[in-house]
Symmetry: C2
Subunit: 186 residues, 2 copies
Amino acid sequence: MDISTILDNIYKLPEQSRLALQNNVTEIAFPKGHILLKANKVESNIYLIKKGLVRAFVDRDNEVTFWFGKEGETVLSMKSYVEEQPGYESIELLEDCELYELKTENLKKLFEQDVHIANWGRKFAEKELIKTEERLISKQFKNASERYLELMKDHPELLQRVQLGHIASYLGITQVSLSRIRAELK
Amino acid sequence: MDISTILDNIYKLPEQSRLALQNNVTEIAFPKGHILLKANKVESNIYLIKKGLVRAFVDRDNEVTFWFGKEGETVLSMKSYVEEQPGYESIELLEDCELYELKTENLKKLFEQDVHIANWGRKFAEKELIKTEERLISKQFKNASERYLELMKDHPELLQRVQLGHIASYLGITQVSLSRIRAELK
DNA sequence: TTCATTTTTTATCATTTGTTAAATTTTTTC
DNA sequence: GAAAAAATTTAACAAATGATAAAAAATGAA
């Protein structure tokens, strides 16, 4: 996926602003299994996914996956990005990935200088906010089985690309529960 | 709570930009029980809470409260604000409220014209996003009892101001479950 | 391919949360 | 302040999900 397509999908930018952003982007690739961002660390880059799949997870006694990112999506340590504080999540590559890397520091300078880029950043946060809020509501309304069916409907490709343990974690249930649910649906 | 304090708490604005925002704000009051924003409707205003308490809820077969807003917080129909589409939530006043009203249309013009205000809007969305993401993670890590204790710790005043049925809904459990949890904690 | 490792499923039992109904307490209204 | 209404708690049982262990299936390495 092309960098200009990714940027414009978030918010359509005037050519000049989009180029200003693109000029700060470098391409980089990592293999499956690589840890791109680490929890409890102030991260200084964000990434846009050109190709591949990643997951965000929090690791306390057990490990909880709470986000998947694929082509066109933005990978960042939310607390680092917003508050310049150590983040709660780690990002692991679930497939070999090609990424566009962008230094948070440079992005923040652009936010101050260019109203279009500031609005691009605003739209990015707003869209993520809606997605997160909808998931929170879905979690409160629906049982595990309904959430699984919803995920199958909205993101069927994830079922092909992600192992079920991570899917279960994302749905907020154990892998054993997910197996049971899948068996009941047959 | 003063409008300039509320605005600056989200993101410190230069005097001129802050005044541009303030000039678009009008004060308005509604009594407890009033429905400020309605689900399935494109809402054209957002509100900043000067005084009082509100809840956001989704109403399908049962009613789920997923957000409380108090002094200094921003009330909006997220889908209306971001996508100009009918929102999923209604907002009910849990106390008599004094509000600052701001037309979304005017705010969006300011976003295009003033880079500081655009960054104010960006920061607002980013901060809400972190709060929402932390709640989603909390819901996946913690059981009902732990979430109740967390709420008591982080927002003890809510327990005084909100009836337990709404708290239970916010925690994602039934009122009966919450009563049981409270009894066990004694 | 074959063996080892990892992932997924199945089974059993324990725990948590939901449902319904009734009792109790608190709040509101007259 | 008394009666009515609303909110909260308690109780008993049902349903959903978790925990643990073992079996089966899929994947990866030699």
